[in-house]
């Protein structure tokens, strides 16, 4: 459990938009991720806030490996 708790906390960001998107995602999707997806999500959380926001808001091209996660983030 503690690993998921750490991930939940790391969804606290410097930008409100990301707090909102990530907290919804965590509520709805986190438990359903495969181990591989979870690993990618952890890597995604290490990306910079403005970059993460630009991907979610469809302003910048998303690196292929994050395609699935960003699509899910856009939908929540």
């Amino acid at each position: 459990m503690s690993e998921l708790d750490r991930i939940r906390w790391q969804c606290r960001r410097g930008m409100l938009e990301l707090d909102l998107v990530l907290s919804r995602f965590v509520e709805q999707e986190l438990d359903g991720l495969t181990p591989g997806q979870l690993q990618l999500f952890k890597e995604l959380l290490n990306e910079q806030d403005p970059m993460l926001l630009a991907w979610v808001m469809e302003q910048e091209e998303v690196p292929g490996r994050y395609d699935f996660l960003i699509r899910r983030l856009r939908q929540v």
């Binding site: 503690s2 909102l20 806030d49 403005p50």
Partner: protein, 586 residues
């Protein structure tokens, strides 16, 4: 229970712009510095600052710090202290150039100098015409600033405690601050961080409002710690609001939407701005629009089931115009308001953005012990949005927030270095009960088998603040707000959560954060209720005018007894003539 104690020369709480700038000053003086942060430093809320940082570099056209100072004093509605404002504006160019030398990627002119753009309220020759004074790194100025300062700190061997939360200040009988009690989130372990100097840089507390642009981390932890330690909070009635944040979310909808022809409707579908500003209507200034929106809601003409928001209509512009002229707005509205503005109006409310008040300091970042005289708390410093110097007074000038954290982050760091060198500060023995208070708080939370739900009490606080102490304030409503905040405060003493685990327990952290927010909310409500005038961001229906004779003074709120005291505004600058109060018209 034995608690681990670690010793440092200085402890900085918060790793946003001001914390990092202060820490850099300390680390480069070869002091042992610990910086605590709830989140990774570059995820501090400074990252959300887009507009830029002001400095009268004069790279594009003539400018000087006197004009910047005038704009700041006027913007503050004459509540800012003119000595601190002079200090900040004089230091601005140096602060920006220093950052440039650290590698900050400012936008540049063809000649290689830093590019500057115009910004609301920035003028040349004392209000004569707009001037280009804002320096930016695209629309990511705050982000670039954090990165630059973080890298520099790493190089200077600043020690970071990431995902740590400070709980309380350690103060001895004499009133000196000797460090902080802090908790490591990963383990839940509580530790004493003993220091010769403690610097609070915890940012603003905009999360006291239901409608807020602030990130979730902005919970006023430094203000809560200061209040519990008997230190007053200054000018807490002054909060900057933006007229159009998405209702229920807080995400800003740019004013450009109204510029392109969007307008506001009440629940009857009436374009009400025609009544408040017949000529310019929806393009009236921020405060006029916010006040009109608040009045419509207060009088029962808000939309939605709780009649608590206003509708921003732009579907008549057509999808093509919206996409072309207002890029990103559709995505924001769809994601955060759940409406497609090409079809339906966006629910919006005036939304809290910035905290002008805070922990009272002088211009060297030393925290004032009280409202009388200049006595300071030995060992305690504060800088940035959590502090009140006061350079923003009743209303902050755009781009002065990033400048504030650079100038006063550095100044407070310099003061600490000086105080340590003169041996005015040293490690003192910690009182035996140093950790008792925070440990008792934690023990109560951890052992509670029932009590008040953290989310519900937080929601009640945010609703109360929004409804009773929002952008436009009504006397009956403020009085009711004080009563309600009393209740909220009582309930906040009984918080309860089910999950008692120690490891990254977000519920536990949120309970601790809420205790801090409630101190901030209480100070705001009580201070606003008492101030019988309208000045800057404090706008009262029953006292529509500024009253310099009675109220040109700073509010000091003390947690003990929920008491208010006042301190005169410093009208005398350091070297120039004072700017005498005038009506604030643009």
């Amino acid at each position: 229970m034995a608690i681990t104690t670690r010793k440092f020369d200085a402890v900085v709480v918060g790793a946003g712009g001001s914390g990092l700038r202060a820490a850099l000053q300390l680390a480069e003086a070869n002091l042992q510095v610990a910086v605590l942060s709830k989140v990774f430093p570059t995820r501090s809320h400074t990252v959300a600052a887009q507009g830029g940082v002001s400095a009268s570099l004069g790279n594009e056209e003539p400018d000087n710090w006197h004009w910047h100072m005038y704009d700041t004093v006027k913007g503050s509605d004459y509540l800012g202290d003119q000595d601190a404002i002079e200090f900040m504006c004089r230091k601005a160019s140096e602060a920006v150039i220093e950052l440039e030398h650290y590698g900050m990627p400012f936008d540049r002119l063809d000649n290689g100098k830093i590019y500057q753009r115009p910004f609301g309220g920035h003028t040349s020759n004392y209000g004569e015409r707009a001037v280009k004074r804002a320096c930016a790194a695209a629309d990511r100025t705050g982000h670039a600033m954090l990165h630059t300062l973080y890298q520099r700190n790493v190089r200077a061997n600043t020690q970071f405690f990431v995902e740590w939360m400070a709980l309380d200040l350690i103060r001895n009988q004499a009133g000196d601050v000797l460090g902080v009690v802090a908790m490591e989130m990963e383990t839940g372990e509580v530790m004493l961080l003993q220091s010769k100097a403690t610097l609070l840089a915890t940012g603003g507390a905009g999360r006291i409002y239901a409608a807020s642009t602030n990130a979730f981390i902005n919970t006023g932890d430094g203000l809560g710690m200061a209040a519990r330690a008997g230190i007053p909070l200054e000018d807490m009635e002054f909060w900057q609001f933006h007229p159009t944040g998405v209702a229920g979310a807080g995400v800003l909808i740019t004013e450009g939407v109204r510029g392109e022809g969007g307008f506001l409707l009440n629940k009857n579908g009436e374009r009400f701005m025609e009544r408040y500003a017949p000529t310019v209507k929806d393009l009236a200034s921020r405060d006029v629009v916010s006040r009109a929106m608040a009045t419509e809601i207060k009088e029962g003409r808000g939309a939605g089931k709780d009649a608590d928001y206003i509708l921003l209509k732009l579907d008549h512009l057509g999808a093509d115009v919206i996409d072309k002229r207002l890029p990103g707005i559709r995505e924001i509205a769809i994601k955060f308001a759940n409406v497609d503005p090409a079809k339906d109006p966006i629910p919006v409310v005036p939304t809290c953005h910035y905290q002008m008040g805070g922990i009272p300091t002088n211009m060297h970042g030393q925290v004032l012990a009280g409202h009388n005289g200049g006595a300071t708390v030995k060992g305690l410093y504060a800088a940035g949005e959590c502090a009140c110097v006061s350079v923003h007074g009743a209303n902050r000038l755009g781009t002065n927030s990033l400048l504030d954290l650079l100038v006063f982050g550095k100044a407070s760091g310099e003061q600490v270095v000086k105080d340590l060198a003169s041996e005015a500060l040293s490690h003192q023995d910690l009182p035996k009960d140093a950790a008792d208070r925070p440990l008792a708080r934690l023990a109560r939370l951890d052992s509670a088998k029932s009590g008040e739900d953290v989310f519900e009490v937080g929601a009640e606080m945010r609703r109360t603040m929004q409804l009773h102490c929002g952008v436009f304030r009504f006397p009956d409503s403020l009085a009711e707000g004080v009563r309600k905040m009393d209740e909220v405060s009582q309930r906040a003493g009984q918080l309860f959560f089910k999950d008692k685990s120690k490891v990254f327990n977000t519920a536990r952290v949120e309970a601790l954060e809420l205790e801090n927010l409630v101190e901030v909310a209480m100070s705001t409500m009580v201070s606003a209720h008492a101030r019988q005038e309208s000045r800057g961001a404090h706008d009262r229906s029953d006292f529509p005018n500024r009253d310099d004779a009675q109220w040109m003074k700073h509010t000091f709120w003390y947690k003990d007894g929920n008491r208010l005291e006042y301190r005169p505004v410093q009208l005398k600058p350091l070297t120039v003539e004072s700017f005498e109060p005038k009506a604030r018209v643009y």
